[in-house]
C-alpha cells in the first residue's frame, strides 16, 4: 500500500470488502450513525430497552425445534430448526428493525424509510415505527408489490406509506436505489433502516450485531440440548442478514460448517438466477465492495428468484470475506428445489416456512443424510410462509385467490 493510500482512513472493512461508497451528501449522516451506534451498543439502558422489546414484544428467545420426523426420514444428522418464523411479524427481520428504530429514535429521528423485497422487512419496519411512534415510508419494487400484495396491505394497516418503485427491474435492487435516493433528499429527520447486512459501513456491522441474537441463542440451546456443537448451520442468503445472524457466534467454532444457500432460480447455467457467489464477481455497488451479479462492463445484472427476498444481485461484505477465507461455504439452490423443500417441510413437520428459508431446508435434505446420526445440524427458519402460499400454488399450476 502506498503512502497516499495509507493517509486515507479505510473504515468498516471485512478483508477487502465493505467500505463507504456513497454520495457525499450522506457521509455526514453515516458518520453520525456510526458514532451513535458505537455509543448506544455499549449503553446499558439502550440494551435493556432493546432486550425488553425482543423478549416481551418480538417473542424471543425463539425456539430451537428438533425436527424428529424429518431427521428420521432423511436418515442422518439430527435436524434442528431455529424458529425465527415464530417471531412477531413472522421473520428474523424484527430483530434488526427493533434495534435500528430504537437507535433512530435515540438519535432524534422522527421518520424512517426502508426498502423491502418480499415485504417481511417492510412489515417489520412499519411495525417498529408504529410501536415506537415514528413516521414510516417503504420502498418496494412494483413487481414485488404485485407478488406480495398482502404484505403491502399489512404495511398500510400499520400506518406506513408504501411506494411502488417502477425503475429498473422493479425488484429489491431498485427498491434499495430508490430508498437511497430518498435518503439523500432528506437525511436530517430520517433514518434509513437498511434491511440486510449490506450497504455502506456501519450498516453491515449494525445489522449483523442485531441479528447475531440468533446464533447466540442457538449456540446455548444446542449445547444445552445435545451437549455438543452442531456439525453445520445452514441459512438462506440474499443480502445475508439471517445467515450472518445464524453464523456469527459459531464463527470461532472451527468444527461447525457454515453454509449459506443462495437463490439459483431457474439454474446457475441460465441467466435467471440470483446466485451472487456462484456466478458473480467482485464489484462496488450500494455503498459496499462485495460480490455482485454483473456483466463485463460492471453493469449490475437483472437477477431472478421465486423468492422476492433473495432476488438481490449482491451479498453482504462479511459474507464475501467468509467466502474468500473459506470459513463459510455458499451453495446455489434452485426454485424447484426450494418449492419441493417448502412442500416437504409442510408435510413432514407441519411447518409452512418462507420460500426464502426453504432454500436452506433444500440443502439440508442433501446434507443431512451424509452426516452420522450422532451429529446434529441447525437450519435457520428465517420466516413463515403465509406470504408465499399463493406463489407456490401458482408454481404448481393452480391459481388460488389471496
Amino acid at each position: 500500500m502506498s503512502d497516499l493510500q495509507g493517509s486515507f482512513p479505510r473504515k468498516g472493512r471485512f478483508g477487502d470488502y465493505g467500505g463507504q461508497y456513497i454520495p457525499e451528501t450522506l457521509m455526514n449522516e453515516i458518520i453520525n450513525l456510526e458514532k451513535a451506534y458505537n455509543h448506544y451498543k455499549d449503553d446499558p439502558e439502550f440494551n435493556a430497552e432493546l432486550t425488553d422489546l425482543l423478549n416481551n414484544y418480538a417473542g424471543r428467545p425463539s425456539l430451537l425445534y428438533y425436527a424428529e420426523k424429518m431427521s428420521a426420514d432423511l436418515g442422518g444428522a439430527k435436524i434442528y430448526l431455529k424458529r425465527e418464523d415464530l417471531n412477531h411479524t413472522g421473520s428474523h427481520k424484527i430483530n434488526n428493525v427493533l434495534g435500528q428504530v430504537l437507535l433512530a429514535k435515540k438519535m432524534g429521528k422522527t421518520r424512517i424509510i426502508a426498502e423491502t423485497g418480499a415485504g417481511q422487512h417492510g412489515v417489520a419496519a412499519a411495525t417498529a415505527a408504529a410501536l415506537l411512534g415514528l413516521e414510516c415510508e417503504i420502498f418496494m419494487g412494483k413487481e414485488d408489490t404485485e407478488r406480495q400484495a398482502l404484505n403491502v396491505y399489512r404495511m398500510e394497516l400499520l400506518g406506513a406509506k408504501v411506494n411502488a418503485v417502477i425503475s429498473g427491474t422493479q425488484t429489491l435492487k431498485d427498491a434499495v436505489n430508490e430508498t437511497m435516493r430518498e435518503w439523500v433528499g432528506r437525511v436530517s429527520d430520517t433514518h434509513y433502516v437498511l434491511g440486510s447486512v449490506m450497504g455502506p459501513h456501519p450498516f453491515p456491522t449494525i445489522v449483523r450485531d442485531f441479528q447475531s441474537v440468533i446464533s447466540r441463542e442457538a449456540r446455548e440451546q444446542i449445547l444445552k440440548r445435545e451437549g455438543k456443537l452442531p456439525a453445520a448451520v445452514i441459512a438462506c442468503v440474499g443480502g445475508g442478514s439471517n445467515a450472518i445472524g445464524m453464523f456469527y457466534h459459531f464463527i470461532p467454532d472451527k468444527t461447525v460448517k457454515l453454509i449459506g444457500c443462495e437463490a439459483a432460480g431457474l439454474g446457475v447455467d441460465t441467466e435467471k438466477h440470483a446466485a451472487t457467489i456462484a456466478k458473480g464477481s467482485v464489484g462496488i455497488f450500494h455503498g459496499m465492495k462485495s460480490y455482485f451479479c454483473q456483466n463485463d462492463e460492471g453493469q449490475i445484472a437483472p437477477v431472478y428468484s421465486i423468492s422476492a427476498g433473495l432476488d438481490y444481485p449482491g451479498i453482504g461484505p462479511e459474507h464475501a470475506s467468509l467466502h474468500d477465507t473459506g470459513r463459510a461455504q455458499y451453495v446455489p439452490v434452485s426454485d424447484e428445489e426450494a418449492v419441493s423443500a417448502f412442500e416437504y417441510l409442510a408435510r413432514s413437520e407441519g411447518i409452512i416456512c418462507a420460500i426464502e428459508s426453504a432454500h436452506a431446508v433444500a440443502h439440508a435434505r442433501i446434507l443431512a443424510p451424509k452426516i452420522g446420526n450422532d451429529e446434529n445440524i441447525i437450519i435457520c427458519l428465517s420466516g413463515r410462509g403465509d406470504k408465499d402460499v399463493a406463489a407456490i400454488a401458482r408454481y404448481r399450476g393452480s391459481n388460488i385467490n389471496e
Partner: protein, 257 residues
C-alpha cells in the same frame, strides 16, 4: 496547471453534462460540439450505469437509453478521443465507481489519459474512499473532482485541501434534477472552500434557468447544468443539437451578468 483550469480562466464557467451515447455515440459528439460552439467551457460526459443512485428520473432514463443503444466504456473512450481531436475544451467523465473498478483502475486511467480526458467525477466515491483510485489517477494525470454537499460542513476543509481540477458543490439535498429554488447557503460554503484552496468551485444540481445561472455565477467559479440539457435531448432526440446550442448560449450569456 491542469487543463481543467483553462475552463475557469478569468471568468465564471458554464459546465454542461450529457450522458454519453444518448441517443448514440455519434449524436453525443455532435451535441457536445454544439454546446462548445455555444460557449460551454467544460463538458461532463456521463458513462451510463444500470443503477445511478445519485440521479433523478431525467438522467436515470438517459442512462437506460444510452445502454439500450449499446454504449460501452470503450466506445466512450472513443468519443473522448474523437472530441479531443476537434476541441481543447476540458472533458471529464462522470461515472459510478463500478464500471471503473471493473475496467481495472490502472487500465482505465491510462486509457483516459491516452484519449485526452482531463478529470473524473465519481458520485459514489466520497473523500474517505478516494484511496481506491487516487494512485492510478495521479499516475496518469487525471484530476479527481471532489464533491461537497450542503451536509459537508465539518468536512469542507479536508475535502477542499485535497481537491484537484475543480470542486463540485452540490447545491441542495437530493438527487440530480431541476429545482425551482436553490435554498442552500452557497455563499458560506464557497467562502469556506476559498479559505483553504485556489481550486475553482462550480455549483451543480437543480440549475436550469438563466436567472439561476446568473445568480450562481456571481457566487461560484462555475455553473453546472445536467438534467436540463438531458431533458432537451430526451425531448428532441437526434434533432436536439440546435436547441442545445440556443439553450447553452442563453445560459452562458446569463452567467456573469
Amino acid at each position: 496547471m491542469s487543463n481543467i483550469n483553462r475552463a475557469f480562466k478569468n471568468k465564471s464557467a458554464f459546465i454542461g453534462f450529457v450522458t454519453g451515447g444518448d441517443p448514440s455515440i455519434e449524436k453525443s459528439e455532435e451535441f457536445i460540439l454544439d454546446m462548445i460552439r455555444a460557449g460551454a467551457d467544460l463538458v461532463e460526459i456521463g458513462i451510463p450505469f444500470s443503477d445511478p443512485i445519485a440521479e433523478g428520473p431525467v438522467i436515470q432514463e438517459a442512462n437506460i437509453r444510452a445502454l439500450s443503444a449499446g454504449a460501452t466504456v470503450e466506445k466512450l473512450f472513443g468519443l473522448v478521443k474523437s472530441l479531443r481531436a476537434k476541441t481543447e475544451v476540458p472533458l471529464v467523465f462522470l461515472t459510478y465507481l463500478n464500471p471503473v473498478f471493473h475496467y481495472g483502475y490502472d487500465a482505465f486511467f491510462k486509457r483516459s489519459r491516452d484519449a485526452g480526458l482531463d478529470g473524473i467525477i465519481i458520485p459514489d466515491l466520497p473523500f474517505e474512499e478516494q484511496a481506491e483510485v487516487r494512485e492510478a489517477a495521479v499516475k496518469y494525470g487525471i484530476d479527481i473532482i471532489s464533491l461537497i454537499a450542503p451536509t459537508s460542513r465539518s468536512r469542507i476543509q479536508e475535502i477542499a485541501k485535497a481537491a484537484t481540477g475543480f470542486i463540485y458543490l452540490v447545491s441542495s439535498m437530493g438527487v440530480t434534477g431541476v429545482r425551482s429554488e436553490i435554498r442552500t447557503d452557497l455563499d458560506s460554503i464557497v467562502t469556506a472552500v476559498r479559505d483553504v484552496t485556489k481550486v475553482p468551485a462550480a455549483v451543480g444540481f437543480g440549475i436550469h434557468t438563466p436567472a439561476q445561472a446568473s445568480q450562481i455565477g456571481k457566487i461560484a467559479d462555475g455553473v453546472i447544468v445536467g438534467s436540463a440539457i438531458v431533458k432537451i435531448i430526451a425531448e428532441y432526440g437526434g434533432d436536439a443539437g440546435k436547441y442545445l446550442y440556443e439553450y447553452v448560449k442563453a445560459m452562458k450569456a446569463a452567467i456573469g451578468q
